[in-house]
């Protein structure tokens, strides 16, 4: 009796579920091993000494932090730290700018009726499909010559000098490439919020602006957070544009610095894995602790079943 009860518990799922307990945990263990093994290997390599690594030892026999000390204080550390600072600046500015522009536009698309609303929205969404490489060449020339944006019907022009090798070239490019995605996710999220709340605010005498800031935005914090996380992680990760626009450590970002590692440090895998681990730590920590927002954002942003 007892055996068959255990058997039933292990191999027969509840009616509402698919996978029996036994297979569930077997699958989860495999998933855990395959997910973590390479990442753990990255870390253990970074705390190993070179002779251990070159003799094929998988676990450090003489754990050491010397690779990290070397990375942050040794030769070439100034470059790595400069790249870290550039990455933080680029990711932060890109996220803030994309969110300001994106929230305003997404609100209009989701909540206000105006002519050509749908065609414009689809036009913007279509931009998401274009790979960055297809407009990289004209963008490069534009950054070299400086960007100018004129507000129509006025003489107000915003003109910059050459932006090559400055973090601003990356901020401008990343913000532009993020906007379609940001608007798509946010518009989807704003649409899920009940119209009644807004109309109640109008009845209370709120204007459009106040209704937006007092009612819709506070309710959209999860969606806005998810979108901001995506923008941040993308800006931190981007490599193609950064590779084209940056020339010195005045603007090189972490991915560029890490790519140069591979060329420069040849066999020093301890130092390289340490550099990779430190560079990946911010996005990994953000993603792990805020994964709930990421999943919810994906659910709400139009990708629903």
């Amino acid at each position: 009796m007892a055996v068959s009860a255990v058997r039933k518990r292990l191999f027969e799922p509840r009616p509402s579920e698919l996978v029996p307990k036994f297979w569930l945990w077997l699958g989860l263990m495999l998933l855990l091993i395959f997910t973590l093994a390479p990442f753990v290997y990255l870390f253990t390599s970074s705390i190993s000494i070179t002779p251990d690594l070159l003799s094929g030892k998988l676990l450090p026999h003489h754990p050491t932090l010397s690779n990290y000390v070397n990375l942050l204080t040794g030769q070439g550390s100034a470059n790595y730290i400069a790249a870290m600072r550039n990455s933080v600046e680029v990711a932060a500015c890109t996220t803030v700018l994309s969110m300001i522009f994106g929230i305003l536009a997404a609100y209009a698309f989701a909540r206000v009726r105006f002519p050509f609303r749908m065609s414009m929205l689809f036009g913007i969404l279509a931009m998401q499909i274009l790979p960055s490489i297809s407009i990289l060449v004209p963008l490069y020339i534009m950054m070299r010559n400086g960007v100018s944006i004129t507000i129509p019907f006025t003489h107000i022009t915003w003109q910059t000098g050459s932006l090559l090798d400055s973090v601003w070239s990356l901020v401008i490019a990343y913000t532009t490439f993020s906007l379609p995605f940001v608007i798509w996710l946010l518009a989807g999220y704003f649409q899920t919020i009940s119209k009644d709340l807004e109309e109640a605010a109008f009845v209370d005498g709120c204007g459009r602006w106040r209704a937006m800031f007092r009612v819709i935005l506070p309710l959209s914090v999860p969606g806005i957070a998810a979108t901001a996380i995506f923008t941040l992680l993308n800006a931190w990760d981007e490599y193609v544009i950064a590779n084209a626009f940056t020339q010195t450590y005045a603007s090189k970002t972490l991915p560029i610095a890490i790519a140069e590692f591979v060329g420069k440090h040849g066999m020093d895998w301890g130092l390289m894995t340490a550099g990779g681990f430190v560079g990946s730590l911010p996005p990994v920590i953000i993603a792990m602790f805020l994964y709930r927002y990421i999943v919810n954002g994906l659910t709400a942003g139009g990708i629903k079943g």
Binding site: P15, S16, E17, L18, V19, L24, G27, L28, L31, L32, F34, T35, P38, F39, Y41, L42, L54, S55, G56, A105, A108, V112, R113, I124, L125, I129, L130, P131, I133, S134, P138, Y140, M142, V147, I149, F177, L179, R208, L233, V240, N243, A244, L254, P255, I258, W269, M272, T273, G276, S280, V284, A287, M288, Y291, V295, L298, G302, I303, K304, G305
Partner: protein
């Protein structure tokens, strides 16, 4: 009453224009205008570095690209990589999502852990797998030696050949991007009502029947979106390849990048970018149709 309606509506239109104006200005100047410009340049002989004059040459750039061996080799490898990775990521991501959608102790922990590969920098992922594939002392070789699959005398250089490199790059990409697939499919699965499973369970449906009659049909919109997003991502592969190999013929993006920023053949690079963009544009149709369906439901 009618008069009030009209003024309110006009106010709304003005308000909306004010809100979308910054975005539209930026996108027109920094996205749409360069699209137009690169289309124009693709018909010009435009080499930045060799001092030759810029001149209109019609379809010559397109002819050059379409008849070059390098372009077709790169296309073939990119398509191979895209199909292989998206297929594996879909299957693995689907089953991972299936597991993580169940109720069990520690679910939050598992869901947070599987995000790690996806959050890793793409470049670091390249570096990590380059290290794993090192001949002699990398994890891959050491494991194969340890399991006696490879005799101690054998010590292959895994990343020596540009064609087989695509398989090794695919493994790295599958490891990194499967979690993304899992997240999207998991989001879709959470929206499937439990009653549907209970209903077919009464009819005695087991694992495969539940999968085929409930999960997959209900999940179809999510699956389509996930596939299209991943195809677009995989088709742009570049970062990892620059770490694994110096051979630009391994992907279209790599080849185009080299034409543009190594040799500064801006005209030819624009033509190549346009040809590969048209491959992607074919996907737009599918993508927008899926999106429209989703937006209409919302």
């Amino acid at each position: 009453m009618k008069k009030f309606y009209i003024t309110q509506r006009h106010k709304d239109v003005g308000f909306a224009l004010l809100l979308i104006l910054p975005t539209v200005l930026v996108l027109l100047r920094i996205f749409v205008y360069p699209i137009y410009q690169s289309a124009v340049w693709s018909f010009f002989h435009y080499n930045l570095m060799d001092g030759s004059p810029v001149q209109f040459i019609g379809w010559q750039n397109y002819k050059d690209v379409l008849t070059s061996v390098a372009f077709w080799l790169a296309t073939q490898r990119t398509v191979y990589f895209t199909v292989l990775t998206v297929l594996f990521e879909l299957v693995l991501g689907f089953f991972s999502a299936l597991l993580l959608n169940q109720h069990f102790r520690g679910r939050t922990f598992f869901r947070a852990i599987i995000i790690i590969p996806w959050a890793l920098l793409t470049l670091v992922n390249g570096l990590l797998w380059d290290w794993i594939y090192q001949p002699g002392f990398g994890l891959f070789t050491v494991l194969l030696h340890g399991l006696h699959i490879l005799s101690p005398q054998q010590n292959p250089v895994w990343l020596a050949n540009s064609s087989s490199i695509m398989n090794f790059v695919s493994v790295a990409d599958i490891w990194k991007m499967t979690p993304f697939m899992t997240l999207i499919l998991l989001a879709g699965m959470q929206a499937i009502p439990e009653e549907l499973y209970e209903a077919v369970a009464i009819d005695g449906a087991g694992f495969w029947n539940k999968l085929i009659h409930v999960t997959i049909p209900q999940l179809m919109p999510s699956i389509l979106v996930a596939i299209v997003l991943r195809i677009m991502g995989a088709f742009r592969v570049y970062d990892i390849l620059t770490v694994f190999t110096g051979d630009p013929q391994t992907s279209i993006t790599y080849l185009t990048f080299n034409y543009a920023f190594r040799y500064f053949y801006l005209g030819k690079a624009s033509a190549m970018a346009w040809i590969s963009t048209i491959f992607i544009l074919i996907l737009i149709v599918i993508y927008i149709r899926v999106l429209k369906k989703n937006l209409d439901q919302a």
